[in-house]
Protein backbone atom coordinates (compact mmCIF):
# COMPACT_ATOMS: atom_id res chain seq x y z
CA UNK A 1 0.00 0.00 0.00
CA UNK A 2 1.22 3.55 0.61
CA UNK A 3 2.99 5.32 3.41
CA UNK A 4 0.81 6.14 6.44
CA UNK A 5 1.00 9.91 5.87
CA UNK A 6 0.06 9.61 2.22
CA UNK A 7 -2.96 7.57 3.25
CA UNK A 8 -3.86 10.45 5.57
CA UNK A 9 -3.50 12.94 2.70
CA UNK A 10 -5.75 10.77 0.55
CA UNK A 11 -8.32 10.80 3.35
CA UNK A 12 -8.89 14.56 3.00
CA UNK A 13 -12.56 15.56 3.11
CA UNK A 14 -13.42 12.26 4.75
CA UNK A 15 -14.77 11.98 8.30
CA UNK A 16 -12.42 10.57 10.86
CA UNK A 17 -11.79 10.14 14.55
CA UNK A 18 -8.65 11.42 16.22
CA UNK A 19 -7.65 10.32 19.68
CA UNK A 20 -5.09 12.44 21.44
CA UNK A 21 -2.52 11.24 23.93
CA UNK A 22 -4.66 12.61 26.76
CA UNK A 23 -7.58 10.41 25.68
CA UNK A 24 -9.76 13.17 24.23
CA UNK A 25 -11.38 12.38 20.89
CA UNK A 26 -12.21 14.66 17.98
CA UNK A 27 -14.63 13.53 15.28
CA UNK A 28 -14.63 15.61 12.13
CA UNK A 29 -13.90 15.93 8.42
CA UNK A 30 -10.24 16.18 7.53
CA UNK A 31 -9.64 19.51 5.84
CA UNK A 32 -5.87 19.24 5.51
CA UNK A 33 -2.78 17.66 6.98
CA UNK A 34 0.99 18.07 6.71
CA UNK A 35 4.19 16.08 7.03
CA UNK A 36 4.18 16.47 10.81
CA UNK A 37 0.69 14.98 11.10
CA UNK A 38 -0.74 18.38 12.12
CA UNK A 39 -4.39 18.25 11.07
CA UNK A 40 -7.20 20.62 10.41
CA UNK A 41 -10.72 19.27 10.96
CA UNK A 42 -14.10 20.73 10.11
CA UNK A 43 -17.47 20.24 11.87
CA UNK A 44 -15.92 18.66 14.90
CA UNK A 45 -17.42 16.88 17.87
CA UNK A 46 -15.13 16.75 20.86
CA UNK A 47 -15.57 14.03 23.48
CA UNK A 48 -13.77 14.21 26.78
CA UNK A 49 -11.69 11.31 28.03
CA UNK A 50 -14.37 10.11 30.46
CA UNK A 51 -16.94 10.21 27.67
CA UNK A 52 -19.09 12.58 29.71
CA UNK A 53 -18.67 15.93 28.00
CA UNK A 54 -19.32 16.77 24.35
CA UNK A 55 -18.66 19.95 22.47
CA UNK A 56 -19.38 20.90 18.89
CA UNK A 57 -16.89 23.11 17.06
CA UNK A 58 -16.82 24.39 13.48
CA UNK A 59 -13.10 23.75 13.09
CA UNK A 60 -10.13 22.47 15.00
CA UNK A 61 -6.36 22.45 14.47
CA UNK A 62 -4.55 19.57 16.16
CA UNK A 63 -0.77 19.48 16.52
CA UNK A 64 0.57 16.18 15.22
CA UNK A 65 2.74 15.51 18.26
CA UNK A 66 -0.35 15.26 20.48
CA UNK A 67 -2.00 12.52 18.43
CA UNK A 68 -2.21 8.95 19.66
CA UNK A 69 -4.05 7.50 16.67
CA UNK A 70 -6.50 8.26 13.89
CA UNK A 71 -9.41 6.09 12.90
CA UNK A 72 -9.89 6.21 9.15
CA UNK A 73 -13.06 5.07 7.36
CA UNK A 74 -12.79 2.01 5.13
CA UNK A 75 -14.17 4.00 2.19
CA UNK A 76 -10.79 5.79 2.01
CA UNK A 77 -8.93 2.54 1.44
CA UNK A 78 -11.34 1.50 -1.29
CA UNK A 79 -10.80 4.90 -2.87
CA UNK A 80 -7.04 4.40 -2.73
CA UNK A 81 -7.30 1.06 -4.51
CA UNK A 82 -9.44 2.64 -7.21
CA UNK A 83 -7.02 5.57 -7.49
CA UNK A 84 -4.09 3.24 -8.06
CA UNK A 85 -6.03 1.45 -10.80
CA UNK A 86 -6.97 4.81 -12.33
CA UNK A 87 -3.34 5.98 -12.33
CA UNK A 88 -2.20 2.77 -14.05
CA UNK A 89 -4.96 3.01 -16.62
CA UNK A 90 -4.09 6.66 -17.24
CA UNK A 91 -0.42 5.76 -17.75
CA UNK A 92 -1.37 3.03 -20.22
CA UNK A 93 -3.43 5.54 -22.17
CA UNK A 94 -0.57 8.05 -22.15
CA UNK A 95 1.76 5.44 -23.66
CA UNK A 96 -0.72 4.51 -26.33
CA UNK A 97 -0.97 8.18 -27.27
CA UNK A 98 2.78 8.70 -27.41
CA UNK A 99 3.47 5.48 -29.31
CA UNK A 100 7.11 5.75 -28.35
CA UNK A 101 9.46 2.78 -28.62
CA UNK A 102 10.51 3.07 -24.98
CA UNK A 103 6.88 3.03 -23.92
CA UNK A 104 7.11 -0.61 -22.91
CA UNK A 105 10.23 -0.04 -20.82
CA UNK A 106 8.80 3.12 -19.33
CA UNK A 107 5.60 1.32 -18.46
CA UNK A 108 7.59 -1.44 -16.79
CA UNK A 109 9.55 1.14 -14.83
CA UNK A 110 6.43 2.89 -13.70
CA UNK A 111 4.80 -0.39 -12.90
CA UNK A 112 7.64 -0.85 -10.41
CA UNK A 113 6.62 2.39 -8.78
CA UNK A 114 3.52 0.77 -7.33
CA UNK A 115 5.84 -1.07 -4.96
CA UNK A 116 7.28 2.18 -3.72
CA UNK A 117 4.72 2.12 -0.94
CA UNK A 118 6.81 -0.42 0.88
CA UNK A 119 10.22 0.66 -0.37
CA UNK A 120 9.34 4.29 0.15
CA UNK A 121 9.07 3.45 3.80
CA UNK A 122 12.40 1.70 3.53
CA UNK A 123 14.21 4.54 1.80
CA UNK A 124 12.68 6.94 4.31
CA UNK A 125 14.11 4.70 6.96
CA UNK A 126 17.58 4.93 5.44
CA UNK A 127 17.36 8.70 5.70
CA UNK A 128 16.13 8.41 9.27
CA UNK A 129 19.03 6.13 10.16
CA UNK A 130 21.52 8.63 8.72
CA UNK A 131 20.05 11.48 10.75
CA UNK A 132 20.04 9.35 13.90
Amino acid sequence: LQLPLSLLRTAQNHPMLVELKNGETYNGHLQSCDTWMNIHLRDVIFTSKDGERFYKMPEVYVRGSTIKYLRIPETVVDMVKNEVQEVRRHQKDMHKQKKTYGGGGGGGGRGGQSNRGGRGGGSGGRGGGGRG
Binding site: L1, Q2, L3, P4, L5, L7, L8, K21, N22, G23, M37, K49, G64, I67, K68, Y69, L70, R71, I72, P73, E74, V76, V77, G117, G118, R119, G121, G122, S123, G124, G125, R126, G127, G128, G129
Partner: protein
Protein backbone atom coordinates in the same frame (compact mmCIF):
# COMPACT_ATOMS: atom_id res chain seq x y z
CA UNK B 1 17.36 -30.82 -11.38
CA UNK B 2 16.34 -27.98 -9.10
CA UNK B 3 17.20 -27.91 -5.41
CA UNK B 4 15.29 -25.62 -3.09
CA UNK B 5 17.45 -24.45 -0.20
CA UNK B 6 15.99 -23.20 3.04
CA UNK B 7 17.85 -20.02 3.96
CA UNK B 8 17.87 -19.49 7.74
CA UNK B 9 15.99 -16.38 8.78
CA UNK B 10 19.00 -14.71 10.46
CA UNK B 11 20.97 -14.68 7.20
CA UNK B 12 18.10 -12.88 5.44
CA UNK B 13 17.97 -10.20 8.16
CA UNK B 14 21.68 -9.40 7.95
CA UNK B 15 21.47 -8.68 4.25
CA UNK B 16 18.46 -6.38 4.60
CA UNK B 17 19.27 -3.45 2.29
CA UNK B 18 16.68 -1.04 3.64
CA UNK B 19 17.75 -0.56 7.25
CA UNK B 20 21.25 -1.93 7.73
CA UNK B 21 21.99 -2.68 11.34
CA UNK B 22 18.39 -2.03 12.42
CA UNK B 23 15.30 -4.17 12.89
CA UNK B 24 12.68 -3.44 10.26
CA UNK B 25 8.93 -3.77 10.50
CA UNK B 26 8.95 -4.28 6.73
CA UNK B 27 8.83 -8.06 7.12
CA UNK B 28 5.76 -7.75 9.34
CA UNK B 29 3.64 -6.24 6.56
CA UNK B 30 0.27 -7.96 6.04
CA UNK B 31 0.87 -10.05 9.16
CA UNK B 32 -1.54 -10.38 12.05
CA UNK B 33 0.02 -8.38 14.85
CA UNK B 34 -0.74 -7.36 18.41
CA UNK B 35 0.37 -3.80 19.10
CA UNK B 36 0.67 -2.55 22.68
CA UNK B 37 0.36 1.20 23.18
CA UNK B 38 1.80 3.33 25.96
CA UNK B 39 -1.63 3.77 27.52
CA UNK B 40 -1.81 0.01 27.95
CA UNK B 41 -4.22 -0.69 25.11
CA UNK B 42 -3.80 -3.87 23.13
CA UNK B 43 -4.72 -3.53 19.47
CA UNK B 44 -4.84 -6.50 17.15
CA UNK B 45 -4.87 -6.10 13.40
CA UNK B 46 -3.14 -6.63 10.08
CA UNK B 47 -0.15 -4.36 9.44
CA UNK B 48 -0.65 -2.60 6.11
CA UNK B 49 1.83 0.24 6.10
CA UNK B 50 4.85 1.63 7.95
CA UNK B 51 7.24 4.57 7.71
CA UNK B 52 10.56 5.62 9.25
CA UNK B 53 8.89 6.79 12.50
CA UNK B 54 7.18 3.41 12.84
CA UNK B 55 3.81 5.08 12.26
CA UNK B 56 1.57 2.10 11.55
CA UNK B 57 -1.52 1.54 9.47
CA UNK B 58 -3.50 -1.40 10.84
CA UNK B 59 -6.48 -3.03 9.18
CA UNK B 60 -9.44 -4.90 10.77
CA UNK B 61 -8.41 -3.70 14.18
CA UNK B 62 -9.91 -5.02 17.40
CA UNK B 63 -9.05 -3.60 20.78
CA UNK B 64 -8.86 -6.40 23.29
CA UNK B 65 -9.29 -5.88 27.01
CA UNK B 66 -8.20 -8.67 29.38
CA UNK B 67 -9.36 -9.33 32.91
CA UNK B 68 -7.65 -12.46 34.20
CA UNK B 69 -8.64 -15.19 31.75
CA UNK B 70 -11.55 -13.31 30.17
CA UNK B 71 -11.38 -10.84 27.32
CA UNK B 72 -13.68 -8.70 25.21
CA UNK B 73 -13.14 -7.01 21.88
CA UNK B 74 -14.07 -3.64 20.41
CA UNK B 75 -13.86 -3.13 16.65
CA UNK B 76 -11.97 -0.15 15.33
CA UNK B 77 -11.75 -0.62 11.55
CA UNK B 78 -8.64 1.03 10.11
CA UNK B 79 -6.23 2.80 12.45
CA UNK B 80 -3.28 5.03 11.71
CA UNK B 81 -1.17 4.85 14.86
CA UNK B 82 1.49 7.45 15.57
CA UNK B 83 4.72 5.56 16.07
CA UNK B 84 5.82 7.17 19.35
CA UNK B 85 2.78 5.71 21.11
CA UNK B 86 3.78 2.13 20.37
CA UNK B 87 5.54 0.06 23.02
CA UNK B 88 5.78 -3.15 21.05
CA UNK B 89 4.36 -5.04 18.12
CA UNK B 90 4.38 -8.80 17.92
CA UNK B 91 3.28 -11.36 15.39
CA UNK B 92 0.23 -13.37 16.43
CA UNK B 93 0.02 -17.08 15.93
CA UNK B 94 -3.71 -17.56 15.46
CA UNK B 95 -3.42 -21.32 15.76
CA UNK B 96 -2.29 -21.24 19.39
CA UNK B 97 -5.01 -21.97 21.95
CA UNK B 98 -4.62 -19.70 24.92
CA UNK B 99 -7.49 -21.02 27.02
CA UNK B 100 -8.79 -17.50 27.39
CA UNK B 101 -12.50 -16.94 27.18
CA UNK B 102 -14.11 -14.28 25.01
CA UNK B 103 -17.04 -12.49 26.59
CA UNK B 104 -19.16 -9.48 25.71
CA UNK B 105 -18.10 -6.01 26.82
CA UNK B 106 -20.92 -5.80 29.39
CA UNK B 107 -19.97 -9.18 30.81
CA UNK B 108 -16.34 -8.08 31.16
CA UNK B 109 -17.38 -4.91 32.98
CA UNK B 110 -19.43 -7.02 35.39
CA UNK B 111 -16.46 -9.32 36.02
CA UNK B 112 -14.23 -6.30 36.62
CA UNK B 113 -16.70 -4.79 39.10
CA UNK B 114 -17.11 -8.01 41.03
CA UNK B 115 -13.34 -8.37 41.24
CA UNK B 116 -12.92 -4.82 42.54
CA UNK B 117 -15.54 -5.46 45.19
CA UNK B 118 -13.92 -8.64 46.39
CA UNK B 119 -10.51 -6.92 46.42
CA UNK B 120 -11.87 -4.07 48.53
CA UNK B 121 -13.35 -6.57 50.98
CA UNK B 122 -10.11 -8.48 51.43
CA UNK B 123 -7.36 -5.88 51.18
CA UNK B 124 -8.95 -2.46 50.92
CA UNK B 125 -6.46 -1.69 48.17
CA UNK B 126 -6.56 -1.60 44.39
CA UNK B 127 -6.21 -4.82 42.46
CA UNK B 128 -2.84 -5.24 40.83
CA UNK B 129 -3.18 -4.31 37.21
CA UNK B 130 -0.50 -5.67 34.98
CA UNK B 131 -1.33 -3.00 32.46
CA UNK B 132 0.70 0.00 31.63
CA UNK B 133 0.17 3.13 31.25
CA UNK B 134 3.70 4.40 31.03
CA UNK B 135 2.72 8.04 30.89
CA UNK B 136 0.38 10.22 32.83
CA UNK B 137 -2.21 11.62 30.41
CA UNK B 138 -1.09 15.01 29.13
Amino acid sequence: LVFSVRIPRMAVNLSDPYLPGAISLFEQLDKHLIVVLRDGRKLIGYLRSIDQFANLVLDEVVERTYIQKYYSEISHGILLIRGENVVLAGELDDSIETGQIKVSIDELNRIEQSLEQSNNDVQGGSSSKNDLPLDEPY
